[in-house]
């Protein structure tokens, strides 16, 4: 990570006023905090040899207490006052959040809190639900994803998705992965396509298990393997953002660990947003965590803060297991 990247001002802020200043400011401070934290890991000088100094160092102030100027980068995706209605029922209320491309953002909250609904807004999956209406603005690289000129097929290639229930096509393992790159014209020939398929399956931790039976049906795999196949399929089209909706809920601990490791690896290249009921998983894989409750975004902060010192009582109650 380079510090110069971190220090760039949020340029889009000046172009597009961002009404939810509180969360924007929080996020900016958090960026500064994470930058500082990362710097602390890499730049920490070796302790000097010799007797320890007697003077007591003044502890550096905690990130959330510093009134630093807004520092950070343009978010990969920005949601601004997003509300979702299913018919008359409001499922999401004025949610504003930013997803960055070298961070994993976890959405947690009890069932029905709106976290999956929100995730589906990010690649317009709610378009497919009859009676669903989305209000507010969602931007990908500063462009409104609901704008008339936005090609939704292209959008979903750029913002890929992995669902809770593995949903491979009823085709061969190979075809499941090759389908996307082929229709998007990402491969020039058979060997290149083979390469994409292998790379994607390797990254999804599935290659060694399926390399000798690529022509078998994807649906013949075990549940855990199917899910990794779906992840391989999402990776294959080289997305910019990967949305994961409870991706490990059907996986055993080993497969889960593989997916989590995969998430870590992918973090450098893609923005990743993950919905999970497993708070330990959110704690393990994410750098930012957003807590939703009854359709509202209650708290969005660095994961380490959310799990050690949440600001909101409702967050505290939920993550400590006091919320029913």
């Amino acid at each position: 990570m380079t510090m110069t990247q971190e220090k760039q001002p949020i340029t889009t802020n000046s172009a597009v006023p961002f009404p939810s200043t509180a969360i924007a400011a929080d996020a900016a401070r958090d960026d500064a905090g994470i930058a500082k934290e990362d710097a602390a890991w890499t730049d920490r000088p070796e302790p000097a040899a010799g007797p320890a100094p007697i003077t007591v160092e003044t502890p550096s102030p905690e990130p959330q207490d510093t009134a630093e100027p807004a520092a950070g980068r343009t978010p990969k995706m920005r949601a601004d006052r997003v509300s979702v209605f299913y018919g008359d029922k409001q499922a999401l209320k004025d949610v504003s959040i930013e997803v960055h491309d070298d961070r994993v953002t976890a959405f947690i909250g009890p069932s029905g809190c709106g976290k999956s609904t929100f995730l589906r807004c990010l690649n317009r999956m709610n378009d497919t639900i009859a009676g669903a209406r989305v209000a507010g603005q969602i931007e990908l690289d500063g462009h409104d994803i609901n704008a008339p000129d936005m090609d939704v097929v292209q959008l979903r290639a750029r913002v890929g998705m992995v669902f809770q229930k593995p949903n491979p096509f009823p085709k061969s393992i190979y075809e499941n992965v090759a389908y996307g790159p082929r229709i998007h014209g990402l491969a020039q020939g058979k060997s290149e396509l083979d390469g994409i398929v292998e790379k994607s399956l390797r990254r999804a931790g599935l290659w060694d298990e399926v390399k000798d039976r690529l022509q078998e049906s994807g649906t013949a795999l075990s549940g855990g393997q199917q899910q990794r196949l779906c992840i391989a399929r999402a990776i294959a089209v080289d997305p910019e953002v990967i949305l994961m909706d409870e991706p490990c809920s059907a996986l055993d601990p080993i497969a889960t660990a593989k997916i989590e490791e995969l998430i870590h690896e992918l973090r450098g290249r893609y923005a990743i947003a993950i919905v999970t009921h497993n708070m330990q998983q959110a704690a393990r894989v994410s750098q930012r965590t957003a807590f939703f409750h009854l359709g509202e975004l209650i708290e969005y902060n660095r994961t380490s803060d959310i799990f050690t010192n949440p600001r909101e009582q409702r967050t505290q109650d939920y993550i400590t297991g006091r919320y029913g």
Binding site: T58, P59, E62, M279, Q280, A283, I306, F307, T308, N309, P310, Q313, T315, Q316, D317, I319, T320, G321, R322, Y323, G324
Partner: protein
């Protein structure tokens, strides 16, 4: 701070048990300080031996606390305030065990001081011990009740203990200069005072842990009683 119990009741029971263990350790440490001082004043060598022997209980409870903390982290995966509490319990148990060691150390000096003549600071030491021991009592109550304010009040009392120590130090120094025969006894009494001063410091450290556990913030730079330069 917690508005309600955990959905999983066994988790609450585990946390309560941990708090009870810390309370128990605190009670033993307080008692040890009180007894050590009584033995010192009454020249009760047998009693002092019992204090030394009883310190083993504290050591055992510290080990018990560590086991339970490790188990609780492994089995319950505590988060946020719960996690801070559990980590604080682990650290506090180590400090309370150390406080017990100071009481033991004081007790060991009882035999040496048995034949000591009247040395004036001996009359100041029990009062100093009372304050230090009260600090331990109050800070552990603060932990059990997650009371950050009470923790802050404990810190404020440390100044009194430091002042006692400075005063006793000067008096003992004067004694030693006036009567070189008193040096052996006075030195031992000086160590007793130093031990009590350390008990106050440790209680203050616990207060800082309690404050962090309860609030999620560190107490920050406190205004400490100007650290004694006498020693």
């Amino acid at each position: 701070m917690a508005t309600q119990g955990h959905t999983l009741k066994a988790f609450d029971e585990d946390l309560d048990r941990l708090r009870a263990l810390i309370s128990e350790m605190g009670g033993l440490a307080e008692h040890a300080i009180g007894e050590a001082m009584r033995c010192l004043v009454d020249r009760d060598v047998d009693g002092a031996h019992r204090v030394i022997e009883d310190d083993k209980k504290l050591d055992a409870l510290e080990i018990e606390t560590e086991k339970r903390v490790v188990q609780l982290i492994a089995l319950r995966a505590p988060m946020a305030g719960d996690l801070r509490d559990v980590v604080a319990a682990l650290k506090i148990s180590g400090v309370v065990e150390r406080i017990g060691d100071y009481a033991k150390n004081i007790s060991k000096r009882v035999a040496v001081l048995e034949d000591a003549g009247k040395i004036e600071p001996l009359s100041l030491l029990p009062e100093m011990a009372r304050i230090a021991s009260q600090m331990v009592h109050e800070v552990l109550n603060a932990f059990v009740n997650r009371d950050a304010e009470a923790a802050l009040r404990v810190c404020e009392r440390d100044k009194a203990v430091d002042d006692f120590y400075d005063s006793i130090f000067r008096t003992l120094l004067t004694h030693m200069m006036e009567d070189t025969h008193s040096i052996r006894h006075a030195t031992h009494l000086l160590f007793v005072a130093k031990n009590l001063e350390r008990v106050g410091d440790h209680a203050t450290n616990i207060a800082e842990m309690v404050y962090y556990a309860a609030t999620g913030r560190h107490m920050g730079e406190r205004v400490k009683g100007a650290d004694s330069v006498a020693a």
